[in-house]
């Protein structure tokens, strides 16, 4: 079986899901997801070429042991690292790369930044909760979304608003 999918279609997708229940539908979804992940990890299209996964590893390694901030910070867990990898891979291809950080409670953070008053910060918990807060000039937006393998729409919208000219 040969599956063809236009690059533009793949590029526009986040994680590929299917409503279909048949073996064929499942196969198509899995192949599309595999292709998308390869592109996400690729140098040309994905975050892999922007060094984000290296940055993530570096931060996680630095924060493996508690008190990494000198003020009693909790260590980062393997779970939070895995959740962050999965979240990054689920981002639509071609999206601006976030910078990686960590918080004292042991959460990893992804930041999309234009200026100190125009940014989005997303905290990833070991349980897969996404706590986000954005400052867009005088406007504030914040909340929590569960991560089930797809980037929640409110977070995608905020990424685009931060990046918009």
């Amino acid at each position: 079986m040969i599956i063809e999918m236009a690059a533009s279609t793949i590029l526009s997708l986040g994680t590929v899901t299917t409503q279909g229940a048949s073996d064929t539908a499942q196969f198509v979804a899995e192949e599309a997801e595999r292709g998308r992940r390869q592109l996400q990890d690729s140098f040309s299209f994905g975050l892999g070429g922007k060094g984000v996964f290296d940055e993530l590893y570096s931060v996680a390694f630095r924060c493996l042991v508690g008190d990494w901030d000198g003020y009693g910070a909790a260590p980062l867990s393997a779970n939070v690292y895995a959740q962050a990898c999965q979240f990054l891979r689920a981002l639509p291809l071609g999206i601006a790369a976030p910078s990686i950080g960590a918080e004292p409670d042991g959460h990893l953070t992804l930041e999309w930044y234009r200026s100190p008053r125009r940014l989005l910060s997303v905290s990833i918990s070991p349980e897969g909760d996404l706590h986000y807060a954005a400052l867009l000039g005088p406007n504030k937006a914040y909340g929590t979304e569960a991560f089930f393998g797809e980037v929640p729409r409110p977070i995608l919208d905020l990424i685009h608003r931060v990046q918009a000219a």
Partner: protein
């Protein structure tokens, strides 16, 4: 033996220093990430009052924070006015320690993490980074 006098209350215009031992809390443009202003799990943000300290004495306190950890580097500090925290409905109270009489805590954080994050973003935007020479 008499106990030392309690320190005076923190005034609005006082500068507070947050020592930075994690380089990623400072962006390449030398602005500060909100991550460094998130409270510890016990919902306090630990700071040092500039009050009455020379620049050298202030850095010595920061260096002591770094020296208490293995292989830690003091990258700099974030300076913030107490009033900027109070505008976010936070409390700033003197909390002297045996090794740091100028220690203070920023408390009164909202319980929900997203609300804490938006406060931390505003604090980070108000603060100034001072690099360790």
């Amino acid at each position: 033996m008499t106990s030392p006098e309690p320190p005076p209350a923190v005034t609005d215009e006082e500068l507070l220093a947050r020592f930075l031992l994690f380089s990623r809390w400072v962006r390449e443009d030398r602005t500060l990430r909100p991550d460094g202003f998130m409270p510890s799990p016990d919902t306090e943000l630990s700071v040092t009052r500039h009050r009455g300290l020379s620049e050298m004495a202030l850095w010595q306190i920061g260096q002591a924070v770094a020296d208490a950890r293995l292989r830690a580097t003091l990258y700099g500090r974030a300076d913030l006015k107490a009033v900027d925290a109070r505008r976010q409905r936070l409390r700033v109270d003197a909390a002297p320690l045996p090794a740091n009489r100028n220690h203070a805590n920023i408390t009164g954080w909202p319980p929900e993490k997203p609300a804490q994050k938006i406060v931390a973003i505003v604090l980070a935007a108000s603060a100034a980074f001072v690099a360790r020479d």
